[in-house]
């Protein structure tokens, strides 16, 4: 494996993504300000103003228009970028399906923020997860370095002719968007080698007219929907290929779909998405020091959901606790959205772990080490007893 080499900088998740976008030589960015993702657009606009990046920077009149601009740019063959947070993400809801249905490989940065209420600046994943069934690839970074790397990997996967789908490049607001960490930045030559220029096959062109997004008759619907499902499912081998190519070229060791941390002889695990995995890994280390057989499992993709990979990994354990930094009001098991995915994945397994969830980080609250210790204690107990008292334990209620 190659050594990771490059320039080391202290960057926030936003700084890391903006730096990667510049190296990806994006053509069009469409913006509309909302905390916490705005800093990435601030950087892009400055790069364009200074002439460092040949970028068409277009300001939307709202998120709906903003996504429309990115859609049009991508349809015309541009490498397009946009982004939002919280209620900005949901304001643009109508636009997501047309973009994926048009197979336009737009990349959208989501700096997670709570919806209203509570509407504070903190991170909940409910904003992005609300759009999970709109045909976009979707994954989270848990460090600024991973945010940089994902930006490049997501474009290459989404732009691959076998996939041709838009991507949501997600990171937790504040925890990742605003706190700097060391990021190794490869050379421009290395990035060029990894990410070739976009070659969009059916770009809008006045000299070669073609139609995008026509009104269809009912009888045509199932064909188009099946086509988009095939594109999404077709992403699996491409993700595998691209992540492995990234690892080989840059000396990283990303799991293509699901990261396992200290799971070797684990009896129970936390299943956790996004930034809180950073703190959770320290908690797992400390619980291990006390002899607890705990591990951590982190999905790198929410869409497409790697059902078989998740099932293979999680069915090995006695108990699984899904850490939900989102809410699914009235959903099956009344926990969060990830519980639905995890429980469905495990349905096919002969041997199933005890499954429960931890509602944590709501309102953008920090999940502290002692709160992860509480989760560890619960998992140890439910693993020993073979059942859980609750489908969801609420941090801030049940642990106090």
């Amino acid at each position: 494996m190659a050594e990771r080499t490059g320039t080391v900088k202290f960057l926030t998740g936003l700084g890391a993504v903006a730096t990667a976008l510049k190296m990806a030589d994006i053509d069009v960015a469409s913006s509309y300000p909302i905390r916490p993702y705005t800093g990435a657009m601030m950087m892009l606009s400055q790069m364009a103003a200074r002439g460092e990046l040949d970028l068409e920077f277009v300001h939307g009149e709202g998120e709906h228009g903003q996504l429309g601009i990115a859609h049009g740019a991508s349809a015309a063959g541009a490498r397009a970028f946009t982004g939002s947070s919280g209620v900005g993400v949901t304001y643009a809801m109508e636009t997501y399906s047309p973009i994926s249905g048009g197979r336009c490989p737009v990349q959208m940065l989501i700096g997670n923020r709570t919806l209203d209420p509570p509407g504070d600046f903190g991170s909940e994943h409910t904003d992005a997860l609300s759009t999970r069934d709109q045909g976009w690839l979707m994954g989270w970074a848990h460090t600024p370095q991973e945010a940089f790397d994902n930006t490049l990997m997501f474009y290459r996967i989404g732009e691959d002719a076998r996939v041709s789908l838009p991507q949501m490049n997600c990171q937790d607001g504040y925890f990742i968007t605003h706190i700097p960490a060391k990021v190794v930045i490869p050379s421009q030559e290395e990035v060029n080698k990894f990410l070739p220029p976009l070659n969009f096959p059916d770009a809008l062109d006045p000299l070669n007219p073609l139609g995008h997004g026509p009104q269809l008759f009912p009888g045509q619907g199932h064909v188009l929907e099946a086509d988009r499902v095939n594109a999404m499912m077709g992403a699996f081998p491409v993700i595998d290929e691209v992540v492995n190519a990234f690892n080989a070229q840059f000396g990283t060791d990303y799991a293509p779909f699901v990261e396992q941390y200290r799971c070797e002889d684990a009896e129970y695990v936390l299943f956790i998405n996004g930034g809180h995995a950073y703190t959770a890994k320290f908690a797992v280390n400390h619980m291990r020091e006390k002899g607890m057989k705990i591990g951590l499992v982190r999905p790198r993709w929410i869409r497409p959901w790697a059902t078989d990979v998740v099932a293979d990994i999680l069915s090995k354990f006695k108990a699984v606790g899904v850490v939900e930094t989102n809410n699914a009001f009235g959903a099956a098991r009344q926990a969060g959205i990830l519980t639905l995915e995890v429980a469905t994945s495990l349905y096919q397994c002969d041997k199933k772990p005890v499954l429960t969830a931890f509602m944590g980080g709501l309102g953008g609250e920090v999940i502290r080490l002692d709160e992860f210790y509480y989760m560890g204690d619960v998992l140890k107990k439910v693993a020993a007893e073979g059942k859980a008292d609750r489908t969801a334990y609420w941090i801030g209620f049940h642990n106090v």
């Binding site: 900088k9 926030t12 998740g13 601030m42 950087m43 400055q46 504040y174 605003h178 706190i179 703190t279």
Partner: protein, 204 residues
Amino acid sequence: MAKTIEVTVWATGVVQDKEGRDVCLVLTEAANQEGKFTQAFDNYVDLPDRINVQVRKYARISDAEIENKFEYENHRPNIIGVTEATIMKGINVCKGLQEGGFLVINTTKDPEALLKYVPEKERKKLKAVATIDAIGIAPEQLIDYSGAEGAEDVSAIGAGLGSVMAGAIAAVSGIVKKESILAAAANRTAAKRGYDEVKIKVLK
């Protein structure tokens, strides 16, 4: 968990947004050069676009990886920097201060003159209070928003007041070496004068 030194800098919105952040960035860059683990970050809920309203800038410096990295504020500060002395009249800047803490203020006054604004509880925990005429040493204050909201600073780190304050904090507290501060600051002269000219009143 290894001991993490927490530095909180109080500055004024807009006018000192950049220089206030630079105090923390110069300190953490100096600590980086000494192989420490660091983070420098703005308070997330302060509203930095209100002119002269106080804003908080934070640094954390540790011998090991920082496990409480995501905590929004420095709840247990060891060092307090104040870049505009009048803030002390309205706010207990030392709230949560740890035993043996340090307070460094930008003012032309002597350290004793500002102590009356520190409540008794926190005053007892102070190991030393210090003052430095940071504006006198570096009068130009750069107003630059490029580094706000998690974006990367375009202008140099510590062109003015930020370097003076970082130098003074290093001299008073010893958290980083003088040569590290001088190497980290864009304005080396300002950092050196901050380090050399700070007036220190040792309290215990």
